[in-house]
Amino acid sequence: MPRGGWYSVGVVLMFAVLPFVYGNHALLFNMMMYLVLAQGINVLFGFTGYLPFGYVGFFGTGAYGTSLAILLLHLPPLPALLVGAAAAMLVGLVLAPLLKLSGAYFAIASLAASEVVYYIVSNPHLTPLTQGPYGISLVQTYNAAQSYAVMVAVLALALGAVVYLRNSNLGLALQAIREEPISAGFAGINVVRERTRAWLLSAALAGLAGGVYAWHVSVFYPKPVFDLSISVFAIVFTLFGGAATLLGPVVGTLLLYGLYNWIGISQPEYFQLVFGIVIVVLVLFLPNGLMSLLRRIRVDVP
């Protein structure tokens, strides 16, 4: 088993079994969704150093791609999900030139790009095609149990992707690109191609998560699936746990999304306060996340 493989199996099994003993399936589903999104951010930020504030654009594109494949192409949900992922990757391909930017410029440009996708999708003139601002209804394919099971599979895929990156030459090459793109070129790495691959993998994961989300909730408006807070949550969960590791985003999501559900819904103002403090403490004292604490005491974190 590659490094981190058993942890991944454990996490996947946990979400496969928990619905039988724990009643709040919506919480479990959303937690899986954020685990996938956090690993998607991890693939991009942890391994290449790009921080996409517009990451939710891929999620929304996946939700709409899947829904429109069901509504307009009359595909069953599973093939429709592939259409959703492909749509997210297509948007990723169109936006690939953004990778020429760095740091804050990339973060802001990706945010603007996701807003553009949102305004296209929600444009009232496109109502015949996208239902515009009136949202999507997929009641005819609604199936909470099946869509939950598929999210478990997508979670397995996301964890598998990061396990692969943690153990492969591609993952090492991506980290080399993150640290020193020019030296990476002299190490024989095709920097543009490998970086684009990571970007598209990250887009596909968000697209799949968005597609399964659309199927699971079956009725939604454009605003919530393009909501910036989805990007922010996924990014903070990843950074809190520790990017470029498998376990960091998992631990970050379980703790912080758990906290959100504990006090965020009943007392949102306290959650905002705690969340804000967590971010400040993180940036000041633990810029590499919780996992860096373990590494400091020489634990090899997968």
């Binding site: 030459n169 090459a173 020019i182 030296s183 002299f186």
Partner: protein, 235 residues
């Protein structure tokens, strides 16, 4: 162009805005030869290395490697053909270990684990092989930079001021290392301010001023050339 030149550069020009960093530079390096490149600050030495290695695109001129034009190729293609370099300020992959730094380079070239071990030994990095590159001293980082280039099995190595900041013992070791690399048939182009170091390694030098060559020949003759003296001591 002489028939045995591995690298042959002619008429190379590069401008940054109105500033001419390179202004028709021509030079050749043969396999197994160490050519020194000297000149005052701002004379275009590092720009020459950046253009030959593909970090910058030339505005004019040709770069032939093994008879084949490489001026339009991206960095990784040049690296795979056998053009590699070190940096004046070393650029290791800082959060990766020393060994991982070399694994990255070996994965994309034809070299294996043996090559990594050999390079670690040759550059006295075996004792720090498991450490993060960021924790190395600057002299060690310079050697890691060179090791990263060597693992990719270069045929032409561009070395940018590797002597700066090294103590006399380290300099002597570095000179021996460069001579050993050239001895294995690699062509070296060495940019250096330390003339003692250069005398120990280079059989021939090109002196640059304002982006072009003003002298080519043995270093000792360069020191007696009136134009070279002019450029270094000021007019």
């Amino acid at each position: 162009m002489s028939p045995n030149a591995l690298l042959s550069v002619s008429g190379l020009s590069k401008r940054f805005g109105a500033y001419r960093a390179l202004d028709g530079l021509s030079l050749e390096v043969a396999a197994g030869e160490i050519l020194g490149l000297v000149g005052p600050n701002g004379s275009g030495k590092t720009t020459a290395i950046n253009v030959i290695s593909g970090v910058y695109a030339a505005d004019a001129g040709t770069i032939r490697f093994d008879g084949r034009p490489v001026g339009g190729l991206p960095i990784h293609r040049r690296a795979r053909l056998g053009i590699n370099r070190t940096f004046q300020v070393p650029k290791p992959f800082r959060s990766l270990t020393v060994t991982e730094n070399l694994e990255v380079a070996s994965a994309h070239s034809r070299s294996g684990d043996n090559q990594i071990r050999e390079c670690l030994e040759l550059l006295a990095l075996d004792s720090v092989a498991g450490r993060e590159a960021a924790s190395l001293t600057s002299a060690q980082q310079k050697r890691l930079d060179l090791a990263r280039a060597l693992v990719a099995r270069p045929r032409l190595l561009l070395v940018d001021e590797i002597g700066a900041g090294l103590n006399p013992a380290e300099l002597q070791l570095m000179a021996q290392t460069l001579l050993a690399i050239a001895g294995s048939g690699v062509a070296l182009l060495v940019v250096e301010h330390l003339l003692g170091f250069l005398r120990a390694v280079a059989s021939r030098v090109v002196v640059m001023d304002a982006g072009r060559e003003i002298f080519e020949g043995p270093l000792d003759l360069a020191a007696r050339d009136p134009q070279v003296i002019d450029v270094f001591l000021g007019r």
